[in-house]
Amino acid sequence: MTQAPAIPKELLAKAVSRGWTSERAASDTIELALAKGFSLEQIGVAMDMGLTPERAAEYLQMASALRAPGGNVFNDQQSEYIDQLKKGRFDLEWLNDPRPTVGIRATMKDPERGLTLQDINRAYAGVPEDAPEYRTMAPRGSAFDADVPDMGYVYNQKYQVWSDNVVALYEEACSRQWSATRDIPWGELKPLPPDLERAQCQIATLLTEVEMIASDFPAKWLWQMNQHFHEVKMFLCTQAMDEARHLEVFRKRALANGGGLMRCLTGTETFLKSILHAPTYVQGSFLMHVLGEGLVLDIFRGGEFLAKNKTEKEIYRLCIQDEARHVSYGTMHLKYFLEHHPEREKAIAEMHALAEVAELGIPGFLTNPFIIEPLAVLMGDGVKGMDKGMEAVRLVWVRMREEYLNRCAIAGFDRRDLTKVPAQAPF
């Protein structure tokens, strides 16, 4: 048996600098790793990659010896199983399900549509009503070992993530996916007068900039949601894909017809940062799904309204559909959150405090010359018609405010008498 190498002081110092509690504790863990056959270099690299002492201890507990005598890579349990297999004996414990679902046959309500989540939820372990006892990736309704590791999920209560329309919205999203490459008639894009092209491209630049927040935001929170609520996580995955496609399609529009990518502003980035760094999921969801995407939905409607060719019509119409799904989830999530929060009044008060500040984003958005002037140019059919075009901006102002307030009302979060956003555009 070879002697384990001495642990260099530099490695111990690195461990402490990476947050390992003490040189003594680090030394114990490193000695165990060395005994399992890991090299000093591997241990150093693992520390550089962010391995915590807790994770290291967990891993070493389970890990097979990396360099066991004779090159054996199997632990005792694996070796014993191999011996049994050699004797033709199977374990078959996997058939010994304490909660058997054998015999479950989910049936399609509509064979033409296929087997939906609603179909399987009707059959077994459907919409969850409970807070899960475990924080595991094991599928809802399956049997699993009692000592499964804790995944560290933060959102383990249904009200923190759920909305009553999320299962249907997931299926709808899957059914209505489209391709920015294949499904847009790019060949119909024809040269526009320079002022119209520039206006369209300023809007396309803005949308290229803002859309991906709605991929980054769900991605940030997904891993923190208990997999018991897998439908929510799956829907948010479709949203991430939708927004990737929106970035794609508006970037393509900006670069496909001579106008090019134009200007992005600090104010817009600041709003995006407030979403990305919202301290809780529901706060970020309100900012993004209800407020932000509600505004963008009306920009999409306006884009379709003002489109100068079939290409733009198709782009905006397809984006309208995607965005409306996200807004519908956000609205119903807010409703579910507020209706089921254990301290409902406190939760409502906190959301009002957030909304009071966040709503300033609406006048901020609609007094931004980089947004409203391109819209006015498109509406007025050119720079010369901008005055007339401002009528469309005034219309968008009223519509954005109304639809936002309507969605808040559906969520049981009435802002109509509280909002400071003027009912009419002040210009």
């Binding site: 509509d110 033409e112 549509r113 709808e172 059914s175 209505r176 996916q177 939905l297 409607r301 306006g302 379709e304 309204f305 489109a307 100068k308 060719n309 079939k310 019509k313 905006y316 119409r317 397809l318 309208i320 559909q321 965005e323 409306a324 799904r325 807004v327 519908s328 609205t331 119903m332 219309l395 519509r399 639809e403 309507n406 969605r407 009302a409 559906i410």
Partner: protein
Amino acid sequence: MTKFPSVEWFQALSERAAADKEEFKRLGYFDANVGVKIDANGSGAKGYVLEFAGYVVRSVKDVADPVAESNFTIEGSLDAWTDMVRNIQDHGEPDLNHTLNRLTMAGVPMKVVAKDQLEVDLFYRFNQTLQAFFNEAAALPTEFAHG
């Protein structure tokens, strides 16, 4: 020739859409009751409800109050509806000024009415399918009620 507006006209449109099922499957399913309200230029209103289910329209019926029996209703004058259908027929599809979103966004000449915003949002969520459905009018021989 099928008279517009009538239950028969919307049924004929539904049959055309059903024959084009692969295209509607590509767009995705659509579950909603869609109301159509046509104000007949001072002589009362005609109302219809189209039941979209999956990739087809399952039923069409005339009703007195489509708003009460639908998820959302598209309202407009007979002139506005006729203009839209004629435009689709003239161009094989709507021109830039005659898409459903374009016609309804400002509230004139058409508007979308529903009991709440979530139902209005259905009009947005299924807009492409709804547009494709009305685009089927391009080749539907139609007798207009006026004009």
